[in-house]
Amino acid sequence: MQNIIDVQKLRKEFKSFSSRSGLKGAFRDLFTRNYTIKTAVDDISFTIKKGEMVGYIGENGAGKSTSIKMLTGILTPTDGKVVVNGMNPHKEREKFVKTIGVVFGQRSQLWWDIAVQESFRLLKKIYNVPDQQYEVHMKDVIETLDIGPLLDKPVRKLSLGQRMRCELAAALIHNPPLLFLDEPTIGLDVLVKLKIREFLKRINEKYGTTILLTTHDLSDIEALCERVVMLDEGKIIYDGPLKELRENWAEGKQIQFQFSEAAALEELQILTKEHLVVWEKGESDLIWVASVDSDETVISGVIGKVTAAKKIADLKILEISTEEIIRNIYVEGAVRHG
């Protein structure tokens, strides 16, 4: 299958200028200025195939937005190769941007003072969308996102969730084969998030739209993406299936015991000394969590020993959450393989 995005050794450095102090310093600044170089994206390489939905994750300042800006042609790379939809985003800007859709969660692309449908109409003209195609496609988009009643309102009167759904519709007016979303669900409530996720899944299935999504909300990724690319300080530290990430990192399970009477750490450690267990206290003396390997004999062994010795009110076996996995990865700084 063909690569929609092909990125090789992509790099972006920013110069940040600092001012010298005093009058003499200001004068010298006129001729040469002090600057430091910040590497926001550090030699990253990856490819994305048609129809994929990829989660691009990382903490604040990891370089996600900078990468998206290079992929959409807003920024030029300092070094490296970018081919998107078979084009260099810079060389053929006007032709290229017609083949992508972009949503920046923190920035509105609709015209603030006019009704949403006027913005749509303008975008339809800008992208030269034929009436026929517009009617069919947008009717579907408007219905799925449930924005019909919002169309005659000016953007400034919409709530964030309403605006975001309109932004998404606006980015899709020309039905682009590739969609970039930079933090599309930031600050939205759960119901709107669900609606947006459902919508993205639907256009991905219906039109085979390739979607690259940055977020620091992992539940978005879990709901949508099979593949994640994880970024830390400008470098890719993991690129692969979300499932594998979970398997490699969530090797263990957690067993949560709720006792009828208070328990002490030493007591529990002695009880389970035959197995490799890490005990942690929960919210009170009554609740304790045992982290163990995902091994049947260990799990049943620990449960057997503990339940034989102590009265239990409740018992849960927990999977380690993706959130926790990611946190572990950042703490250790690199991804363990195999």
């Binding site: 920013f14 800006k69 959409t72 042609g73 030029t76 006007e94 920035r107 303008l122 030269n128 000016p154």
Partner: protein
Amino acid sequence: MGKYLEMIRIRFLMMLAYRTNYYSGILIYSINIGAYYFLWSAIYGGKENIQGLSITQMTTYIAVGWMARAFYFNNIDREIAIEIKEGKVAVEMIRPYPYLNMKMMQGLGEGIFRLLFFSVPGMVIVSLVFPVDLSANAETWIYFFISIIFSFIINTQINLLAGIATFFLFNNDGLIRAKRVVIDLFSGLILPLSFYPMWAQNVMGYLPFQGISYIPSMIFTEGFKGSQVFEGLFNQAVWSVLLIIPVYVLWTLAKRQLVVQGG
């Protein structure tokens, strides 16, 4: 082409949404024109004409100057400055159109709105109150309209330059304000250029500003006669083309900074 017409339409709608802001504007312009009328009446005293203009021509010159200003004047310098500061210009790069052309169209939408809802009713009011001489000559009207289209082009290109300068200056509010004063003074809006001392007239002959107000107003009042009209229009046309160069150069530099430094 469709997208440009659509942009003009949208801006027109936006202005329409805020139209009440403009009623007070008509009043302010009328008061301005009235004040100048009384000032000039005093200056003329009993004199038939000064610098070849009669008192009626003078009043007409002032009235037409202000009403034309409503058409060529726009805020896109300030808008561009704000969009640069807020990082919106970067996002505009993902649209399949040239940003500056789109801005110019927005200015045009604004201009057409004011021409219809501001200049026309304003002119009717003013000509009822003051001795303004609206030419009966169709040719004069045609040359005047061609001329204010050039006024719009020249003024808007200067606005583009002032707006783009935000990329290179930390704060260019001062620049934008200074530019407005310079245009009002040197364009001949407040005082016909023929009233300035000779050396100043010579200097202004080499600047684009007279093409913004002096030339269309002189055409309308028929202060320009025969070949002077064509010389005026030619001067405007030359500046409309010449100004493309600095706009293009500055915008190219700005875009380079935008894509390298992220604005």
